[in-house]
Symmetry: C2
DNA sequence: AAAAAAATTTAGACTACCCTAAAAATAGAT
DNA sequence: ATCTATTTTTAGGGTAGTCTAAATTTTTTT
């Protein structure tokens, strides 16, 4: 049987919340993420468990089964490929594409996904730096650093963001921080942990701890 | 309030069935087209009427209101633009795109549609020769001939199809009949109204009345 | 113009997904 | 180890969209 729009969203969110260790996800966390009440989550969990998509024991939280994992990763693949399309082909900003991709990710056709992938040149990362699962369902999370883990004087490459909120991404745009740029921490303020950062070797600016916490980077 | 996937489908189908004269559409015709029962159609009609999207009097059939027409045409615009995308950019055959576009046509973002339109170079017709409504909602149906109305010796341009069934389109592919090709009727068989047709001035083939009835053409 | 046939609507019910309120289970504090 | 707070589940219910069966209206036939 086909999975509904709603079921796919639950699986996607369970995947995101269980992290790379595949930890148990709680009912309340799901209620929060799906903007529904805990009671509604319980209903859906029973249903997903009946379909063999999650491991579920009452009061014990949930994990994806292998089959549930497959569905979740397929949805993530579609979401991220469509985001690449929207940014690369249609010229949307990286702050504008999430909502639209939330709808596009549920289009079923397998053939469509593979042709889209090929049309886009088999991109490995989406416009926010998130890795795109391959056609076989392999998803390898690169182990980036968070900018807060980088010391003064170090030069790093900007590889992704943790926060996908439009307001955060627009803030980065205004600061001139883009995927792939070189960041060099020139100073860290002891008092509030705000930092001075040089971008691509030239203009320098202050960024708050809040921003640093959400920037994924890589040593070169 | 937003219109649901299902509501949009009803409006689109009412538009199609009422033709360019905007004739009343019957409950049974809608039940047939939506693959549901007449009772279900009645329920939905009451709902659409409450929302001001259709004119509905019990037992009297329905017509779209101006606001319903706007929604229907927007859905048609999206459907046909996505079909162009699927064929022109992703390399699908014209026989493969209908189902996928049935899903894509319900993606809401207005911005997406306008950017897609622009990315595709503002196409006027979809891969089946159907006209694409413009951004303001103007839809002008070109007045093509049906091939059965063309006499022996006449040369016409192949402009569209009435039947969108994959099997019919595949049959045209095998016959070498494509959008824009020149068809010349060399002979019409009096017995079964099958015809001999020259394609682009060269190879000749037989086509049945059934096929002729579904080909839209234009005198040059 | 009445009877028969066909089309349409109403009545009552089902599934998916969501809700609130109350009950039950787990976790935390003393 | 028990009591309390928190989390989760159950119970009962609502809306959207579908169904079947029965009632009603319109159309067709005679």
């Amino acid at each position: 049987m086909q999975n509904s729009f709603t079921e796919e969203n639950y699986l996607k969110i369970i995947h995101a919340l269980s992290g790379r260790e595949g930890l148990e996800v709680t009912t309340n966390a799901l209620a929060e993420s799906t903007s529904t009440r805990a009671a509604s989550v319980t209903d859906m969990l029973r249903k997903l468990a009946d379909k063999g998509l999650i491991h579920y024991k009452k009061y014990q939280g949930v994990r994806l089964t292998e089959s549930g994992e497959k569905v979740a990763i397929s949805v993530i693949r579609k979401h991220r490929l469509w985001e690449v399309f929207l940014v690369e082909k249609l010229g949307f900003g990286w702050d504008e594409v999430h909502e639209i991709a939330e709808e596009l990710e549920h289009i079923a056709s397998k053939e469509l996904v593979e042709r889209l992938d090929s049309f886009l040149g088999h991109p490995r990362f989406d416009p926010h730096g998130d890795p795109i699962p391959d056609a076989k369902g392999n998803l390898t999370e690169p182990d980036y650093l968070i900018l807060t883990d980088v010391g003064v004087g170090e030069k790093v490459l900007m590889m992704g963001v943790l926060d996908h909120a439009p307001s955060f991404l627009q803030h980065l745009d205004r600061s001139g921080i883009t995927l792939g740029c070189v960041l060099e921490i020139t100073e860290i303020n002891d008092y509030d942990k705000s930092a001075s950062v040089r971008i691509n070797g030239s203009n320098s600016l202050f960024i708050s701890l809040e921003v640093s916490k959400n920037l994924l980077v890589q040593r070169r």
